[in-house]
Symmetry: C2
Subunit: 358 residues, 2 copies
């Protein structure tokens, strides 16, 4: 058990952006919401999942939609509480803890804001160990936990409760509703018992995000030293450095989809890296060869500072360094790879280890 | 008070097809469901709205979607009960009567099926006096009654409860969900008190549909005599007779939209009639002149039998007669005309009386 105070949010924000692998939504707005909630209601208790009681209801909360929309469609502040309370009402039970669906991006912050408001602890963990674009892409799904009942709330006051036959149907119904709501919505879903949470959560990812953020923001260290730590302490692999030549994006179907192209610099001169994304970076192709794929993390960072950069803020000429990080072992299971492997996203390749090619 | 038995369903079906004005969904499948329910649970009580108690909950039930899809996406039978029960659960109250949203098309039958199952009476009336394509196009909306909480259920077992900020938002959220569910869904919506129903319902439309059906199916009368009755007893105006030259349809956005073109026969020889529809017929243009528009009813009938024909079953060469019928007075109010007048559907004309031009 530890507490999260306002001064932790800077580190968490940077670490969560790295785990967002280009997507996840810039944590900026979520950070403002968490800051406001902590300054009003006080620090938040962060619990290891084993510190939870044996019985009780856990409710995860998040924002859903295209990151490009999320950064412009600011919640009014009441939606998260409304979404979580809606599930409590539907289930006729009060939550004992709030959980994070994805440690990457804005969804590292949304649960903190509602936990502070409700005076509930947050579990140190998530269901991805990163960010993924679709609702069924969770360790909860891999462990057979249903995403519904699920509540969706928008900033105008519209409110839906979904009961779906399976998690892919939940994704489909929630995605179309999110698009109808304007491209982003606040959600509460995967309500579960503390017992289920203990089995299914990807552990320690909030602390991990804070540690990554602390490292990347530590200007007392040189970029080279920070880079060393990323490799030694976090399994990172640098596989490219260069500048952005082109970013193509479209967001019509509730996702930000597109391609990033970079030309190499330094020891990567004459190389071209292409990254394709659906909110999050899915596949990296260096000079025609696949060098990294989901579920591993493909992270684009500023070349001079190593601060991670979200896809929507990349612009022509930006100097970047690209890293891969290994995914959580849950994704190496057969159901895990079926759910988030490159073939699910339509690529005709198998996942290969980050360490095999570079 | 009277009862509806299986032998009434034939008349109701034909009359409801006429009131469906080309859309509303062919009552055939609904008729099978109502027949099955009546033969299992017994006849249904049809109540005048004034026979309802002063206090109590009334729940309307319907099918939503493109009629072209409805005729191919057959409910499994449990959806209507699930949708109505879902609203009862949400509101914490049992219904005392079932109501019809639209007397035109399949939605004349859906409420009967669930009323028989639940042993509840059906109110003799609806909210349109015909069929309209969108959820807010109801006398309930004109009287300020909210469409939500609204339940949507599909044949697979998916289930949504919507709470929207207003009725156009309900339409938007329900329409996208219906499209995601495959183009058609069973809905329960506009839950209201018996007191509200007494103010807002369009009265007597179930009996009216049965009377129309009885007339149109009465083969002891000549077509000319039936035509006379349509004009004298129901205010009908014949404004065209001819054959179908072309029907263009598309159903991508949850509606069946398109245009019907007919070339004239007999006294309409050398004339061309064009009808545009969004599920229901919206506007009829004879030789370039608007002769009828929503909210009046534009009804296409078989030329030899006067049996009404839905848009999805019209084919090249079909001999048809086209009638207009006056709409319920609720649509002549300012809010009524804003909700369903020709300008709402994007036509730059005002509604003109059926009797002015022909």
């Amino acid at each position: 058990m530890r507490t999260i105070t306002i001064k932790d949010l800077g580190d968490l924000s940077v670490g969560a952006t790295l785990l967002g692998t280009g997507g996840g939504g810039d944590p900026y707005i979520g950070k403002l919401m968490a800051e406001a909630a902590i300054s009003r209601y006080g620090p938040i208790t962060l619990l290891d999942v084993d510190e939870l009681p044996n019985e009780g209801l856990v409710i995860p909360a998040a924002m859903m939609g295209a990151p490009t929309v999320m950064v412009e469609k600011i919640p009014n502040g009441g939606e998260i509480l409304k979404a979580v309370s809606s599930l409590e009402r539907t289930l006729g039970q009060k939550a004992v803890a709030i959980m994070t669906i994805e440690a990457g991006g804005i969804n590292s912050m949304i649960p903190l804001a509602v936990a502070a408001q409700m005076g509930l602890p947050v579990i140190d963990g998530d269901s991805m160990g990163r960010a993924f674009p679709e609702l069924q892409m969770t360790s909860f799904h891999v462990h057979g936990i249903r995403a519904t009942p699920m509540a969706l709330v928008d900033e105008k006051g519209n409110h839906l409760v979904i009961e779906a036959i399976d998690n892919p149907w939940t994704e489909r119904l929630a995605r179309t509703a999110t698009v109808a709501m304007g491209g982003a919505a606040i959600i509460a879903l995967y309500p579960m018992t503390t017992r289920q949470a203990k089995t299914a959560v990807v552990r320690g990812t909030i602390n991990k995000a804070m540690a990554l953020g602390r490292l990347l923001r530590d200007v007392s260290m040189s970029v080279e030293d920070r880079s060393q730590h990323l490799q030694q302490d976090h399994g990172g692999v640098e596989f490219f450095s260069g500048k952005v030549a082109d970013v193509e994006r479209h967001s019509g179907d509730g996702f930000a989809r597109g391609t990033l192209a970079c030309t190499g610099l330094g020891r990567y001169a004459d190389s071209i890296l292409r990254i394709e994304f659906q909110n999050e970076n899915l596949i990296a192709i260096l000079d025609g060869k696949v060098v990294a794929t989901v579920p591993d993390l493909i992270c684009v960072m500023d070349r001079e500072t190593l601060i991670p950069v979200t896809t929507e803020s990349l612009t022509y000429g930006h100097r970047v360094t690209v890293y891969g990080f290994p995914c959580d072992p849950v994704w190496h299971t057969s159901k895990g790879m079926d759910t988030v492997g490159p073939r699910y996203f339509g690529y005709g390749v198998d996942h290969t280890s980050l360490y095999s090619g570079v």
